[in-house]
Symmetry: C2
């Protein structure tokens, strides 16, 4: 069975997210070996084995991606964006369409409010245009408002749109022509397979890809607690530049950005300010090697007593895997194996920062 088909079967299996996927490959060395191991691991974890994505469904996905003129990119391989690969939760597979060499250039995200003011949209379009003239690719989320303006400003120079659903699902509907244009002349990126309707939970996933692709994220007009601020927070957690366009305190739509600046985001007023902020990081990051899977541990099976020790240390409060290793006195490989078993058995929840808890 083809390595890529096996990867897709793993990641399309309900209950196997990017982190579990990564753990499986680290543990078993190949996606084929991981696929075979999942049922046993899950039953040792005490739960029902996940229903593996069928070979048939994945072959249909591959055919559909091909029919759409798109292709898959796999973490750690080929054109997969190296900055995105640095993420702990990097998508194991992406569906991409368009001019893929744009993925190799320094990329800056521009995000913001759906209901932004006309002036802010004009500003975002100009900023995207000006960055494009400097050879920077602009990434955004194809939402109404600022996202749309950012794509419009950079369609000719290089734009990346990351969508929450499948690349063939047009959301918002009025952006269909724009999405089609980007799928040809820019790059359209989806974590979900074709045909997947975007759900609420997919939007933060989409946001992490936008931030993850980019050396920095510029926020233009964002309401407090909006998705754009989540993207900014994700970018900060990734160690990327967070930039915000200020506004008058008398303008309620400026509150989100002014708040970001108060928290340490760089105030930017134009493309020169953005370039000044991202160039030091960008120069270092672009072309950096992507993360790859580690070689499997020599003997990483867990004994029944190890299983009991780790499970006994777990509760409903998230705890770092490192902490479990320290407290249990077991080898990291044994602890990770037990966690993987619990995970696939549906009894483990994975949190940010490598923390875990019982479901």
């Amino acid at each position: 069975m083809d390595d890529r088909i096996a990867r897709l079967r793993l990641i399309r299996t309900p209950g196997i997210g990017p982190v579990t996927f990564f753990q499986l490959l680290a543990r078993f060395g190949s996606p084929q070996a991981a696929l075979q191991a999942v049922p046993d691991l899950a039953s040792r974890g005490g739960g029902r084995p996940p229903k593996l994505a069928s070979l048939d469904s994945v072959e249909r996905e591959v055919a559909r991606v091909e029919a759409l003129g798109a292709r898959h990119l796999f973490l750690g391989q080929g054109l997969y964006p190296p900055l995105l690969a640095e993420l702990e939760s990097a998508p194991p597979a992406l569906v991409v369409s368009g001019d893929l060499k744009l993925l190799e250039r320094m990329t800056v995200a521009i995000v913001g409010a759906r209901n932004a003011s006309a002036a802010a949209c004009r500003f975002a379009r100009q900023l995207a245009y000006d960055l494009g003239q400097e050879g920077v690719t602009v990434a955004s989320g194809l939402a109404r408002g600022i996202d749309t303006a950012a794509h419009d400003g950079s369609l000719e120079s290089g734009t990346i749109a990351v969508v929450a659903g499948g690349i063939d699902i047009f959301y918002p509907p009025e952006n269909e022509a724009r999405q089609r244009a980007i799928a040809e002349r820019g790059v359209l990126v989806a974590e979900q397979p074709p045909g997947a309707e975007p759900r609420a939970k997919h939007f933060p996933y989409r946001n992490r890809i936008i931030a993850g692709l980019s050396v920095g994220t510029v926020v233009v007009e964002a309401a407090p607690k909006s998705g754009s601020l989540i993207t900014a927070r994700l970018a900060a957690e990734m160690g990327r530049d967070v930039m915000a366009v200020p506004g008058s305190p008398l303008d309620p739509r400026a509150q989100g950005c002014n708040g970001l600046i108060r928290e340490g985001a760089t105030l930017v007023q134009n493309a020169a300010d953005v370039l000044e902020a991202v160039r030091p990081l960008g120069a270092k990051r672009v072309g950096a090697a992507g993360r790859d899977y580690r070689a499997p541990a020599a003997d990483a099976d867990a004994s029944e007593s190890e299983r009991r020790t780790v499970t006994g240390l777990l509760g409903h409060t998230p705890v770092a895997a490192d902490e479990l290793i320290r407290q249990s006195g077991l080898s990291p490989a044994a602890v990770q194996t037990v966690l993987l078993e619990l995970d696939l058995g549906g009894r483990l929840e994975r949190h940010a920062g490598g923390k875990v808890s019982l479901v």
Copy 2:
């Protein structure tokens, strides 16, 4: 002769600025002794002695100040604002009128453009009002635009207006009623004697007093290279908080403030933001002891050879007095005495940071 009269005669003497005044008192211990020493010092410095302000002229100033219902405050004495006293160039004497207990409260400066937008003026007025409700005194420069709005917002709660000329000179003329009201219900402050018309060079002097009185300075709408930005720079050099109100990059009047924020000023949107910034510093600073003059050195006369050594080390490039002490191998007192002689002889220029050069 009265100590205060002697202080006024010294500081009203052309060529004796605040730093020279401070050096004279440090060297001679009393203003009377300093006054007597000036002619000899100056001739040893190789120049023409400065024309000392006459007893008569200073007595007329005192009478005029009294007639205006005002009074003098002297550095290191009584109600002289302790934060202002920390400055290397603290005015040796101030003419003040009004409710002097306002000088004892935590003070925040609000400054900005003369030709500010109506919205920014409304914002400044509200900010001054809100700070006043928190027991903060607001300082500004009684100029058109933002300054005027800041005074209007804080007239009832506590406002300090620092003017560039004498306290009885109304500038700008349309602010006469406002200046009279502040002289009664707020505090009106002048470094120049009554009757002095404000000259261009007086405005930066005025700005240093505004910043020096205050734990922090808030800039609301300022053009690049404007006086408000000079005030902000002075505040930063004094180690005080610099705060700025942001605006849209599309608004040219926001450029100065956005630039300040990019350089590290705190973005503020309301009184709560200002208080958050200044309270840590303010609590420490308010009530701090003011600077006072040091006791005179036991034997600080300079010999002819010491005079030649120091003069030989000086050139047209500003050099720190400490550097002269190190290079000459002479005592600090001897070097300071020679510098004072040259200064009073009109041959020395004093620069920021304690540097000196030949004229």
